[in-house]
């Protein structure tokens, strides 16, 4: 029986996980709503490296802007009330629940979503590890897990397993694939030592 091992992942002898052209293209699909009497504000934001000027309703949350108006549906809504972490994105490099931020608060800030992780057609090492260790079961929490892990490794490049669990504890996974997520992050962080 062929098994999954940290060593095999690090040595790169696994089934080829290579970059692909299938990474969703970022489309500008700002759909202006037309209801009268709703306060609107124009904001400037950078989303995944692209500067944008967007008119938003003041009541929109950041996740609503991303999903409904910028067509960036990789970020998910699991609770819309700051409990589950499925909507985690990076704002100026820090992980935030995008359901709990208003879009107007983002003026002048940089936002990174799961769609921005792969660069030049090459997956982020965490994305590769998530595939290799079978992180996503249903996959609905995966984008949030990824963004939290990216932020964690920026802040603490070589966390222990316990530090990974603490750092990502704001990201729920009801399939409860926590073991595989932690292994994936740990292997990326300590890859050269495996």
């Amino acid at each position: 029986m062929k098994k999954i091992s940290r060593r095999r992942f690090v040595e790169g002898t696994s089934v080829g996980i290579v970059a692909v052209a299938a990474i969703p293209e970022i489309k500008a699909q700002e759909k202006p709503a037309s209801l009268p009497g709703v306060p609107r504000t124009t904001i400037r934001i950078n989303v995944n490296g692209v500067d944008r000027r967007v008119e938003v309703e003041d009541r929109w949350t950041l996740v609503e802007l991303l999903r409904d108006h910028l067509d960036l549906t990789g970020t998910k809504i699991g609770c819309d009330r700051g409990e589950c972490g499925a909507c985690t994105v990076l704002v100026d490099g820090k992980p935030l629940y995008s359901c709990s931020q208003l879009a107007v608060w983002m003026d002048g800030r940089s936002i990174e979503t799961v769609e921005g992780l792969a660069k030049n057609g090459k997956l982020h090492p965490l994305q590769e590890a998530f595939i290799y260790f079978d992180g996503p079961q249903c996959g609905y929490c995966t984008s949030g897990q990824l963004m939290s892990a990216v932020a964690l490794l920026k802040q603490k490049p070589q966390p222990t397993r316990d530090e990974i669990r603490s750092g990502m504890t704001g990201n729920l996974c009801r399939c409860s694939n926590y073991n595989h997520y932690v292994e994936a992050v740990h292997t990326v962080a300590h890859g050269e030592k495996a």
Binding site: M1, K2, K3, I4, V15, I17, A22, I23, P24, L35, E57, R59, E64, D71, L72, T73, G74, K76, I77, G78, C79, D80, R81, E83, C84, T113, V114, E115, L117, A118, L123, Q127, F130, I131, Y132, D134, P136, Q137, C138, G139, Y140, T142, S143, L146, R165, S166, M168, T169, N171, L172, C173, R174, C175, S176, N177, Y178, N179, H180, Y181, V182
Partner: protein, 702 residues
């Protein structure tokens, strides 16, 4: 067991790339041109009659396009109630969360605003939250005929099973043990909330549904909307978990379809997280009374179970209790009565009738073993099932190996305290184990295999893949039977217009049932290739199969498991954590050890949450839910989750695809009981009610 080329090797999901790049399109990611957004107004009362609904203010709000209530919609939601008593909008409303109205509007904010403008005049009725009170004479009847629901034969009597004679068995016993156990209603709590998008093209309806089974979903929608199956197309490409919560069609599918019809535009209906907790369904609660007779040498003579289960306001699930079949015992009687209360509806959640039943049974069996001064593991080895219901041989059984190999991996002899509660404290360690089994019957499902002139194989299977890796599993089975690498099989899934019937990802049936159809379709295709040669250019060869389950020649086909837990309990604070866990499973041949391991680890960690934290609480004075949502439910987090070691006992199973048996649901069956038994072993006192929270631990220690 002969090793195979493709099946049995750890393989990444064929759609893993989409899952890590945000490219996977889940139902809520679908956006149709001109689409409206819908919201549901729900009853704030646990039991009330609607005297009048005034929609005038809501209709006057700019952007509101359609509103449904019980006054203009009498559509039945048949998969919402096994007894056919449930409409989409009911009057009276029978629980806090019962739908009163649904609104479609130009955006989600307008729809939400409109719910606040609907004026409902309620006549408040008496309500019930407690099972025993619901059965008292004079209790308000939630349904005609009273609060004791019908059994699964639709008779006004409990669901029963009987073999031998329990009275004789108890008389023949040296000792008789009796005890009562309770378990709580808790939620599936899958990350993706209920969502449906409906669009009509003339009289053809397309529903993008978050469903565990597109074919069953389609049939149910067609039935309730009184149109033929071929007028309905159901699409579910990616699905964010369900654990039984998204079987069949859900009311959101029907409401979205009816709103779309009324508004003349596509409608997206998303439930909120709170709605998902109170208004969808969770696992049924239970009150179990067990009586067990045993000889002094540890041989069981009788088991009797009498129980009430909490159906909630409607009868959506079987509300049965299972687990006793894992013991060999000549005299067995079970009697289970589902009861209505004005609380959230109960239905399927991963092995619906098992973990709570096994918790009660295995807790008492543990007590019996300790009382007889037997190692609980030896007690189970002595009394475990050998034949199904002591009568029918199994096609294969690896239960003894699950216990022995699991115990070895866990280091049972080292970790288990012969004297429970004997640790020094304040943090005490303990070890517990439990066993379980689950049916793995074969049945009808279909598959289509196609080979085109370019040499590409296409496999059409009606799976949705709710996280089980079903489409990868189907691809692996096809590749193995074809003798080609997985990469050469193009899997087509998730759309009733392009895929044949599949059983649905419920009952842990997809691998064994749809997998058999895949094998049969491939065999037919290979035969055609041998006869006609491979297709060239624009030629195509196609094979399809609908399996007829093989005769098992009087045998029973089941999966088995034994789980082992180590806990640390702080006897000063009542805090309990699981520090080590081993899941040993006989599910025959494991088709994909990588994704199977994910399922086993996930099932165990879900079960630990059920054992220690999860319960949907109701305020008895108001009849309202108190803790709907993730914070309140306290589902397992990264920090709570121990490492789960997985032990495969791959029995040589003669039936099913390459000898594969069922896996997904057994993964949670013995977990809860193993944790409960470990807590007993740590502190020397038994908590008999789920979840085993701090206050209960401190309570038994006081």
């Amino acid at each position: 067991m002969t090793p195979l080329k493709t099946v049995g090797h750890a393989t990444h999901r064929i759609d893993a790339l989409q899952r890590v790049t945000g490219g996977a399109k889940y139902t809520s990611d679908v956006h149709l041109p001109g689409m409206l957004y819908a919201r549901v107004l729900r009853s704030p009362h646990p039991h009330a009659r609607i005297r009048k609904i005034d929609l005038s203010k809501a209709m006057a709000l700019p952007g509101v396009k359609a509103i449904l209530t019980h006054e203009n919609c009498d559509t039945t939601w048949s998969s919402g109630d096994q007894l056919g008593q449930r409409r989409l909008f009911n009057n009276p409303v029978r629980f806090a969360g019962d739908p009163v109205a649904a609104i479609a509007a130009v955006d989600r904010h307008v729809a939400e605003d409109a719910t606040h403008l609907i004026e409902v005049d309620y006549e408040i009725l008496p309500f019930l939250t407690d099972l025993e009170e619901a059965l008292k004479p004079g209790a308000v009847a939630i349904h005609e005929g009273g609060n004791l629901s019908l059994n699964n034969q639709r008779q006004p009597a409990p669901q029963t099973y009987k073999r031998g004679n329990v009275a004789d068995g108890l008389k023949a016993a040296d000792r008789v043990f009796e005890d009562n156990f309770t378990s709580a209603h808790h939620n599936n709590a899958q990350l993706e909330m209920r969502v449906s998008i409906a669009e009509w093209n003339g009289d053809k309806l397309t529903v993008h549904a978050a469903t565990q089974g597109i074919a069953n979903c389609r049939t149910d929608i067609a039935k309730d909307l009184k149109i033929s199956d071929d007028r309905v197309r159901v699409i579910s490409e990616y699905m964010g978990g369900g654990f039984g919560n998204k079987n069949q069609c859900q009311d959101s599918d029907l409401i979205a379809a009816l709103l779309a019809k009324q508004a003349g535009a596509p409608v997206k209906l998303e439930f909120t997280r709170k709605e998902d907790f109170v208004a969808v369904h969770g696992r049924w609660s239970s009150r179990q009374s067990y009586k067990v007779g045993v000889k002094n040498d540890g041989t069981l003579t009788a088991i009797q179970l009498t129980a009430l289960t909490g159906a909630g306001a409607y009868r959506k699930g079987s509300c049965d209790l299972s687990g006793t079949e894992v013991y060999q015992v000549p005299n067995l009687e079970t009697s289970v009565s589902p009861v209505y209360t004005n609380t959230a509806v109960a239905a399927n959640y991963r092995a619906p009738a098992y973990p709570q039943g096994v918790f009660g049974l295995e807790s008492l069996m543990d007590d019996v073993a300790y009382a007889l001064k037997m190692d609980p593991m030896e007690f189970r080895l002595k009394n475990m099932t050998r034949k199904f219901r002591d009568q029918t041989p199994y096609t294969s059984i690896g239960l003894e190996d699950c216990i022995r190999k699991g115990a070895e991996k866990f280091e049972w002899k080292k970790r288990w305290n012969p004297v429970p509660g004997s640790g020094a404290g304040p943090v005490k360690r303990g070890a517990g184990m439990a066993m379980g089994m689950f049916g793995s019957g074969l049945g009808r499902s279909s598959a289509v295999m196609r080979l085109d002139g370019q040499g590409q194989y296409h496999l059409h299977v009606g799976v949705t893949d709710c996280g089980t890796a079903a489409k990868t599993t189907m691809g692996l089975i096809a590749a193995e039977e074809l003798g080609i690498p997985l990469e050469k099989v193009h899997v087509v899934w998730g759309d009733t217009d392009t895929c044949p019937y599949s059983v649905g990802e419920s009952g842990s049936r997809t691998t064994v049932q749809t997998g058999m159809a895949v094998i049969e379709a491939v065999r037919d295709l290979k035969k055609q290739i041998a006869e006609k040669g491979a297709p060239k250019g624009s030629e195509v060869l196609m094979a399809m199969a609908t399996t007829n389950p093989p005769q098992l020649q009087g045998q029973s086909r089941n999966s088995f498991a034994a789980h082992f837990a180590e806990v640390e309990v702080n006897v000063e604070t009542g805090h309990a954590i699981v520090t080590r866990f081993v899941s040993a499973h006989d599910s025959g041949r494991i088709v994909n050890p990588l994704t199977a391991q994910s399922q086993v680890q996930g099932g165990a960690i879900q079960g630990i949450g059920m054992a220690l934290h999860e319960e949907l609480l109701y305020d008895k004075r108001s009849g309202l839910p108190l803790n709907a949502g993730y914070y309140g439910a306290r589902i397992m987090t990264h920090l709570d989750a121990p490492l789960v070691d997985v032990v495969w006992v791959e029995t040589d199973e003669p039936y099913g695809p390459f000898g594969a048996k069922t896996l997904g649901e057994p993964t949670i069956i013995p977990t809860v009981a193993a944790v409960a038994n470990a807590i007993y072993n740590a502190i020397g006192r038994r908590v008999k009610s789920l979840p085993i929270t701090r206050d209960k631990i401190l309570g038994v220690l006081a």
